[in-house]
Subunit: 345 residues, 2 copies
DNA sequence: TGTTGGCACTCTGGTCGGATGACTGCTAGC
DNA sequence: GCTAGCAGTCATCCGACCAGAGTGCCAACA
């Protein structure tokens, strides 16, 4: 990827750094002042013209300095060596998260809060995937003849509940019996396996339980296959989208908000992003959604003891401090792994 | 409260209506044109001066028209007769909510979505209070020797989970036994009663179960007493705070966001608001939080079959269409009651 | 060939003054 | 108690103007 000679690369990096910290298009003079390249501003100008031709930077208008394009940020990110270490301040903030988290949900909520405060961007935290967890217990609650609530409890502490679709009314005792049968069968199994097992049990069960057991099998299957249907997303610090002052047009801000209010979209975004690595960065138009063309996503995964994992990330403007954000996201991900270990152990 | 003569009252109402719909300070000329009072603008001016003296309206600057104060809105709201009927469009939107809600959480999430779309304000929906629900089942899950997860399932379909505080490690079989004992004792009881019963059972239980049962009693008690600790709030349409364009200063918007990201605050706000009636309106400085001095809250309660209830409302600018908002909030509340009935029945 | 200094040009952003228009408060008269 | 008219105030809009920042290009130089 080294299509740029050393000086051009240095200039591009300097432009990115300057623009990220100052927020204003950066010109050749400004650049020669702050860098010690030993060349004049005219030379830098020539290089900048070349960088613009190559698509790494752009000019908002004729007499303005240059601004990095998505491609420019991409080059910058790819050229990063190892990511920064989190600062002491960051560490302290994250440690505060470790203490006092009650349950899994609480922990994930805190995580999204810490992540957003650390980065000053909107934070996205996705709960550990259910389909790779093991079932601890399945509770069936008879709310009415046509409504039975299934509560799936995973070894990660995650609790998932959903109503069963029932054709025929069921009695409270049948629900009790089904509950017993199901728990005998599935305890400790992974979700994929559990669904099959329950389906098998249903086939051989007394008639009055069959429909109920089928519904349970169905609901477990849905937990595995439905992309995002059962996944929980914890959003934090969405204020930052507007408070940061990165966007000029209100319309943009509105679009971003509307987009991330959709869980499914957020999940897909994180999943897409993480396909390219871990941690991963998607910049502007690299994101699958045109509404987010002015945004970047920095994401990472975290693992739980049981082998199931989740993901987390932040959504901010393309004009973000990528090294710092990467460091923060990674630090939070690893702290979350530790906290999860403590919570369950 | 009728300190205003008929004409002054009519003028005040006209000012409120005009300002709400147009968003600009309204002057005497404009008013005489749109109203048919049979008096001249000079007369209206005199009345407006009186209204300003009385504190109902104010002038942003000398040569501008008048804007209602919080007190002015208050008069307007108090003087409203019965609230409007929801429009056909509103009804249709709400009906869409009734269909296809999976479980309680899903239903409440949809409710907040519908409410915000209907009113174009931020919507707040609080889950049915646990302390007035009846317990259907208590599940104890042994995640590790020091961590046991308690899952409380109420007859409303609400599921509440929390980690138990344990002094001593417990074995998986003890958890099983405790689970059995607890469910024998509490099924069908209200939460207040259940806590006492479990505490009683704990006192007479074998030593190895006592700590565990005490912890369960404690966690149930917390469900009753902790203001908001176990209460869930579903926020929806928070975009509208910024998208509406009601606030000039970005700082204000930021404050509002930060305030409502705190569950506890939202809960307290709704509770305070509903102390003054149902449905209830709190305008600007009537709200307990200075940060929300530019906002109003319109709230109502909803009841579930079992006698426990929750509350919902919207948060918008003081410059809101109160009749329309009141109608929408009430319509959503009653639709939610129906939907809850269907979900559980 | 790459680098440099210089120059003309362009475009934005801020400031200033004047014209405009929407109000109000006041007063004299009906 | 109501009205018409008048003088005064203030925000807003608009065009003009200027300073500043930055560019592209060109000729000269190593």
């Amino acid at each position: 990827m080294n299509i740029l000679d050393d000086r051009k690369a240095a200039i591009l990096k300097a432009i990115v750094r300057d623009y990220v910290s100052e927020g204003e298009p950066v010109g050749s003079k400004r650049l020669t002042d702050s860098m010690k390249l030993g060349v004049s501003s005219a030379t830098v100008r020539a290089d900048m013209a070349a960088l613009e031709d190559a698509g790494f930077i752009a000019q908002p208008h004729t007499s303005a300095g240059r601004v990095p394009t998505d491609l420019g940020y991409r080059y910058f990110v790819d050229a990063l060596g190892q990511t920064e270490e989190p600062t002491a301040e960051q560490r302290a903030a994250i440690e505060a998260l470790l203490l006092g988290a009650g349950d899994l949900e609480d922990l994930l909520r805190r995580t999204s809060s810490v992540l957003s405060r650390l980065t000053r961007f909107a934070a996205l935290v996705v709960a550990p995937r259910l389909d790779r967890s093991r079932l601890r217990h399945v509770e069936l609650v008879h709310l009415g003849p046509h409504s039975v609530l299934a509560v799936l409890i995973a070894d990660t502490g995650r609790v998932d509940k959903r109503m069963l679709d029932l054709d025929k009314p069921v009695s409270e005792t049948d629900v009790h019996r089904a509950r017993h049968v199901v728990n005998e069968a599935v305890s400790g199994l992974g979700l994929r396996h559990a669904a099959d097992v329950v389906a098998g049990v249903a086939a051989g069960a007394p008639e009055e339980l069959e429909g109920l057991l089928d519904a349970v099998a169905g609901t477990i299957t849905r937990g595995v296959t439905d992309a995002g249907a059962g996944d929980q997303v914890f959003l934090g610090g969405t204020v930052n989208i507007v408070a940061g002052g990165y966007f000029e047009r209100l319309e943009q801000v509105k679009q971003v908000y509307e987009t991330i209010e959709e869980q499914v979209v957020v999940l897909k975004m994180l999943r897409d992003t993480l396909e390219s690595g871990d941690p991963a960065v998607k910049i502007g138009t690299e994101l699958p959604l045109v509404e987010l063309a002015a945004c970047s996503v920095v994401a990472a995964t975290y693992e739980t003891g049981g082998g199931s994992g989740g993901s987390l990330g932040v959504l901010g403007p393309t004009r973000m401090d990528y090294p710092r954000t990467l460091a923060a996201v990674q630090a939070v991900a690893s702290s979350l792994e530790r906290a999860l270990g403590e919570l369950v152990g």
